[in-house]
Symmetry: C2
Subunit: 199 residues, 2 copies
């Protein structure tokens, strides 16, 4: 059976991938299913750089086709921050602390200036391909005045979607995947990867 | 003595770096000075991706601060090609074949539409730094109707600089470094790296 690795230990990301990415004729594994892989230092300055670092490190180790995601929140009033620092803005992978820091920094900023964008860059690297496949997906919204909703992860409780009148954390996983940055990126990847890959 | 690696086996690039980058209190090494390092597969879709792949692969191997350059020629009439494929557009690192292919593709394109840009992206990765340093330099010019000049390397004989009325290959190395994409990128790096690096 053919195998593709999703280079993540984040159960939330793993779940979104497995839900969208059509497992036909291959098995999808994440770093949670594989022998312990050391922490990858995400020292990139952009989502693309970080996704490249992760995809190549994991591909080299297991010699299998590997997809890595790097993603984050860009808030206009904060000049694009937290950006690549999204997961460790206040504390390392501490969603509550990160959300609180963003809210505090946005203090008196009024609704119309709380525009933001979630971005996901995917890099698909394969030992038998000459070129990586790179796609980006995004979704636009507003940063709410307080967190709302229990689903999702990361900044989902702060990310308000005006058309739906809900935050990303108030959506079911399927509703979220339909409109999310990562959902959009994964769907772009799905239209391209089969023509690209050399098994 | 502190050491910094330039992740290149290209003698032309190595020479440009050593000429510009001020070697004070540290030694600059290239892959030509180090134990054999296997060919790095540059499978990125962008200069940044490729420079990241190279910098991280070499940094992991030698555990030393490492600068990688990825660079190329973007020709407007060719929709940005040869781009990341610059070094292997016709034949792998065959400058003459690559130049010939570009000239042939630009066949009847008139002078004013032969605009082009050389781009160099540098990624500086360091085991003791949390973030890479990334800079980009460029230089604009026109693609000539035939190659001219014996200096430089790559597409330099085709890259005409209207202000100087010379191609990049008709400049001395110091003249080239003063205006080139890589020279501009290295100078940007020089203003930033000492404040950034953790030795």
């Amino acid at each position: 059976m053919k195998e593709i690795i999703i280079a993540t230990k984040n159960p939330g990301k793993a779940r979104e991938f497995k839900r969208i990415f059509n497992e036909e004729d291959f098995t999808l594994k994440t770093l949670l299913d594989l022998p312990a892989f050391p922490e990858i230092r995400e020292t990139g300055q952009t989502f693309e750089e970080n996704a490249t670092i992760k995809a190549h490190a994991v591909m080299e180790r297991f010699n299998l086709p590997t997809i890595a995601d790097d993603s984050g929140l860009q808030i206009d009033a904060l000049y694009g921050r937290p950006g690549v620092y999204s997961a460790r803005y206040a504390g390392d992978h501490n969603d509550a602390a990160n959300n609180a820091k963003v809210l505090s920094e946005l203090g008196g900023v009024p609704r119309e200036k709380r525009t933001a964008r979630f971005v996901s860059t995917l890099v698909f690297a394969n030992p038998k391909n000459d070129h990586d496949l790179v796609v980006e997906g995004d979704v636009k919204g507003l940063i709410g005045l307080f967190p709302a909703g229990d689903d999702g992860f990361g900044y989902d409780p702060l990310f308000y979607l005006p058309e739906l009148d809900k935050t990303m954390a108030q959506l079911t996983i399927d509703e979220k995947n339909k409109i999310s940055h990562r959902g959009n990126a994964i769907r772009k990847l799905e239209t391209q990867w089969e023509d690209w890959i050399n098994w």
